[in-house]
Amino acid sequence: MLFNSLEFFVFLPIVFALYWLIGSKNIKAQNLLIAISSYVFYGWWDWRFLSLILFSSLVDYSIGRALGKTDVKAKRKTLLWISIGVNLGFLGFFKYYNFFIDSLVNSFTFFGQELSINTLNIILPVGISFYTFQTLSYTIDVYNKKLEPTKNFVGFMAFVSFFPQLVAGPIERATNLLPQFSVQRNFDYARAVDGLRQVLWGLFKKVVIADNCAKYANMIFNNHTEYNGSTLLLGAFFFAFQIYGDFSGYSDIAIGISRLFGFNLKRNFAFPYFSRDIAEFWRRWHISLSTWFRDYLYIPLGGSRGGTKMKVRNTFIIFIVSGFWHGANWTFIVWGALNAIYFLPLLLANKNRVNTNLVAEGRYLPNLKELGQMAITFFITLIAWVFFRADNVGHAIDYLGGTFNASLFSWVEIFPTTILALLALFLVIEWLGRSYEYAIENLDFMKRPVRWSFYIALIVLMFAFTGEEQEFIYFQF
């Protein structure tokens, strides 16, 4: 079920009404309702893969309980590795099996050998990368004794399958979300209104920004040989806003819906395109994934504590694995490696935490230096996005080759004025709201009629400038 579908607009009010009708004192019934609703939500795509979520929940719940009963180090370690093995086993099989087989066969062919292994016709279960990491975080945190193992299986099922963030995140930590299933949740008017406002902003990002940018990004990327350099650069620009609007829009909707049900999810995006260097960008982009890798991979590997070699190795590992997490394609690996290359100079010069404050704090406009820094950071992320979007590495190289030549300085062959005007409006709103969780969080300075008119204006823009419906990009990851 898509958030921007009619089915969901029927589903959500029904679940919302039932949830609060049950009453805040009946947590068990509320959790059961969330679990059932989440399974319906997921099953709308393909009910067969519900068994995977259920199995994953059962395994990690049982291992969590077993970890709680033993202090024997070797046994605890074995239990942890079983959980990692099962979860990553599923992920590896469904997502990476064919990639590895293809790569193996291609490698043998490269060295003149024929290898005959067939790939399988595997359907990738939607959201597997997200819920696998979420449930893994539970076992690892219980193993590290940061979290008490839960005895509430229904609550745990609801935690793993929580429908607002099940298929495209944010990837919640068990330490943040799971305890919320054990405490009384009361309806709070202000929180519900804030949630709806965030849902509205997320829908605007998805329907108006992402879907409209997608139309031009797809057109330019799919026919890149027909366009000049400046148009190709514009194509990458559109893709940058497509993926931002798409993914941060989804996160906003997920966080907003969770607030309607009395839950607080982690922030996933913090205006990344206003970053002044790539380190700041990665503190602001897909925060739930980058902090997951930081805590469960980078730090266990030694983080930045070792010498230069270790820093370089760990940085490459975390970025490449992060790239690979996005999909079984060399393009994602190159995208990850490229970001590592961007990031390393800052890390080695110990300048990766220079820009931790808000850009142009207390001012309406950035100064020239900040503007230049933001432009350069955005530009280098554009280059990396080309690899992320391209069908294969060759496509990306061709695309960049077509971009960076003399035709870069000729006028663009496509200039969709309306979409660019919408993007400008979007950027102004994002800039003005950059000190908040999401851009339109604080509209209390407006009187209600003005505030409601603004919301209606956003809805009207959605009707008037709605793009062709596209599935959320991150569903494929």
Partner: protein
Amino acid sequence: MKRFIKHITIFSFLALIAGEIVVRLTHAMSDIPQRTIDNYGIQKYIPNQDGYWKGGDHKWLINEMGWPGELPERFDDLILVIGDSYIENFMNPNECHQSVYLKEQIPDHNFMEAARSGVSLIEAMEIHKQLDSLQPKHTLIYVNDFDFFESIVEVKPMSDITQMSLTNNEIVYGKMKAPVSKKILYNWKLLYYFYNRFPINLSFGKEKPKKIENEKSDSSELQSKDEVFKLIDHIAANYNLEGKSLVFHPNSNQLIIEKCMAAGFDTIILDSSNDKDWTFDYDSHWTCYGHKKVAEQVSKALKDNILLN
């Protein structure tokens, strides 16, 4: 909670009004003409309607006889053009209709269209029967393979169009499908917009069907061949074929064409090969360019063969 529900209700009401205004002003959805069933059992449009096509670039028009497009100034030397949505042609302005292009090519004749989306071959024959009183000099019936399949209850049952039951050897007239719901849907533009923009997927647990392009038929094979041939024989036996030509879309099935010729139909076979695309990018209907090219081929055939006889 009460306060929340109250505010949500008021806000939703205001948003619905604003949305309705915007959808109407921007013509985000096409206006849909209302249909009626005439005394002969044929589904046609209520006369004298007009409305905007999606985007508001042009208007469509239903004339006083209940068919799309403008009526000719005179009805002498009349050539009737009967067909489905290709001839109904709401997606193009009035000046791109077949009757207009054909009149340009053959100015000494008058052309009148009688078309509605979904018209099957048997329905086209029935439509012709009721227009006999106009004493047309010739009739062009535009068909593709689907018009044959959709004419037969046993092959593709469709309750809203006129079909032939081969088992009972009778015509089954089409019925209006959910007329009240349609009336609400087409008049409440915002609802219609949502209905189109966010199609309801009620197939729990099933993958969404993939959009497929219209497959080109293989001329050497024909599904439901016996039924289609029976239909053609029935038409030949029960309708007057004189003064009627079947205009076959490009890539129509060769077996059907040969059978129609053998049954006594005049045929005109359109050919879009070696030409740029006649159709829109987003659907299979003809653009203005496509219509012009079709009219050129049809008028040539009319001048060379049919009108001479």
